[in-house]
């Protein structure tokens, strides 16, 4: 329901309206984003942006963990295939 896009914080300043603002890059395209809801955010962080507001900081360690899990699933599949292949071989040998 809510379009959120990750981008990198390039700079932080106080906007004309008194709100903390940041320049955020989305693949090179830059937009001014309100940072009021992420008081601890720092330059270089990746944040999730919805309707011009950063609503969450992206945790690189958690991202890593998800990525690792996704890769493991592949390794697991390979392992299973190998296991099956070995079982086949054993069956063949038994014949």
């Amino acid at each position: 329901m809510c379009l959120g896009v990750p981008g990198e914080v390039l700079s932080i300043e106080t906007g004309a309206n008194g709100l903390p603002m940041g320049k955020v890059s989305f693949g090179g395209m830059r937009k001014d984003v309100v940072l009021a809801y992420l008081p601890e955010v720092e330059v270089g962080d990746y944040v999730l942006v919805h309707v011009g507001f950063a609503i969450s900081r992206i945790d690189p360690e958690e991202a890593e963990r998800t990525m690792a899990l996704l890769q493991e699933l592949g390794d697991l599949a390979l392992l299973e295939r190998d296991l099956k292949a070995v079982q086949h071989l054993e069956v063949d040998d038994a014949r």
Binding site: C2, G7, S25, F26, G27, M29
Partner: protein, 367 residues
């Protein structure tokens, strides 16, 4: 009545006129669409509905039936291509171009998509009272430069002024005429199963550049519109690959998705598109993501789609890549017998889905 077999005169007057002409009800459901909406000009389904249900049946003739970017007319042994287009872009000046340049390139490119060498252009201005004279001058200068670059002459024109309604109102219409060289035959009906679909470069650049300066959407980018005259590149392609080029189309409003749907729809063949092969720049993708747009539906200028015989695809791509306007040319799909009239996309991650027309222009969304 004119005989519809006589191609040179068939384009005049309604074909199936009846005594009851005056009583014909409007074919658009008036309870749903009592008034014209912006979406009727967005290049999506509502535009299609207007063309297919209101316009084409009234003026039916073989030229119109081609539903091509322009018409190719046989005139005393020559083949003449004719095309018209109106320009209402806002703002008038945007990164990489302006309405004047667009008005020349847009029509010149529609002629090129018929395989024609563009020659003559008409120029119609509709101006709002109050428009700064300097703005008009800038646009005129820009038309001049673009016409020079595209080697077309502006041979007739018109100027009208309407009462002020919004700021900076300036609209342009151009009609172009060009000649189709012998042996060249470009038309949707020439599409064949097995044809390869090519794109001449990265997509969605123009639409994104214009959006970056629209009120309310502004973002910072180095993107500039890619508007450019394509006739030379098309000419080179045609002389190298010749009759194995079957269809050409510039994916302007409605983007690649609309253009491919129109082709598939008009010939009753299917098109398979490989998303991973479609060139999109990262900053274009970034802009599209943040606004919730799909680059496949975003307008292009200075790019074209070509359907070529499969055995000519490699030659066509390498030839296009030698030209600065075609440096990122790529094979992005092919024509199939299956799912006639529809475009199926193979997503980057391996899934399949229909790539359909939207109802109107794609709007920025929040969800």
């Amino acid at each position: 009545m004119t005989s519809s077999a006589d191609l040179t005169t068939a384009a005049v007057g309604p074909a199936e006129s009846t005594a009851l002409d005056g009583d014909l009800p409007c074919p658009i459901p008036l309870d749903r669409y009592p008034r014209v909406l912006m979406a009727h000009g967005g290049g999506g389904r509502l535009t299609q509905q207007l063309i297919q249900e209101m316009l084409v049946p009234r003026f039916s003739n073989p030229h119109l039936a081609e539903l091509h970017d322009g018409a190719v007319l046989a005139v005393e042994g020559n083949r003449l291509a004719m095309s018209t287009d109106s320009f209402v872009v806002s703002p008038l000046f945007f990164p990489g171009g302006d309405i004047g340049e667009l008005a020349v390139n847009g029509t010149v490119n529609d002629l090129a998509m018929c395989g024609a060498r563009p020659r003559y252009l008409s120029l119609g201005f509709i101006l709002e009272e109050g428009l700064p004279m300097e703005t008009l001058w800038q646009v005129v200068r820009s038309v001049e430069r673009a016409a020079q670059r595209a080697r077309v002459s502006v041979v007739t024109g018109d100027t009208k002024v309407i009462e002020r309604s919004r700021q900076d109102g300036l609209y342009l219409n151009t009609t172009g005429i060009g000649f189709v060289p012998d042996g060249v035959e470009i038309a949707p009906r020439r599409a064949q199963p097995g044809d390869t679909v090519l794109i001449s470069g990265a997509i969605a650049v123009h639409g994104t550049a214009v959006m970056s300066v629209r009120e309310g959407l502004e973002f910072e980018t180095t993107l500039a519109s890619d508007t450019a005259p394509l006739a030379d590149l098309v000419g080179a392609l045609l002389s190298a690959v010749g009759s194995r080029v079957h269809v050409l189309r510039d994916p302007t409003r409605g983007g690649v998705a609309a253009a491919l749907n129109e082709i598939a729809g008009s010939v009753g063949l299917g098109i398979e598109l490989d998303e991973a092969a479609v060139p999109v720049w990262p900053d274009v993708l970034g802009a599209c993501e943040i606004l919730g747009l799909d680059p496949l539906y975003v307008a292009n200028e200075g790019k074209f789609l070509a359907l070529v015989a499969a055995d000519a695809a490699d030659a066509a791509v390498s030839l296009m890549r030698e030209d600065p306007l075609g440096r990122e040319a790529a094979v992005i799909g092919h024509v199939v017998d299956e799912h006639p009239g529809r475009v199926v996309l193979h997503s980057r991650v391996g899934g399949r889905r229909m790539l359909d027309l939207l109802s109107g222009e794609q709007l920025p969304r929040i969800c």
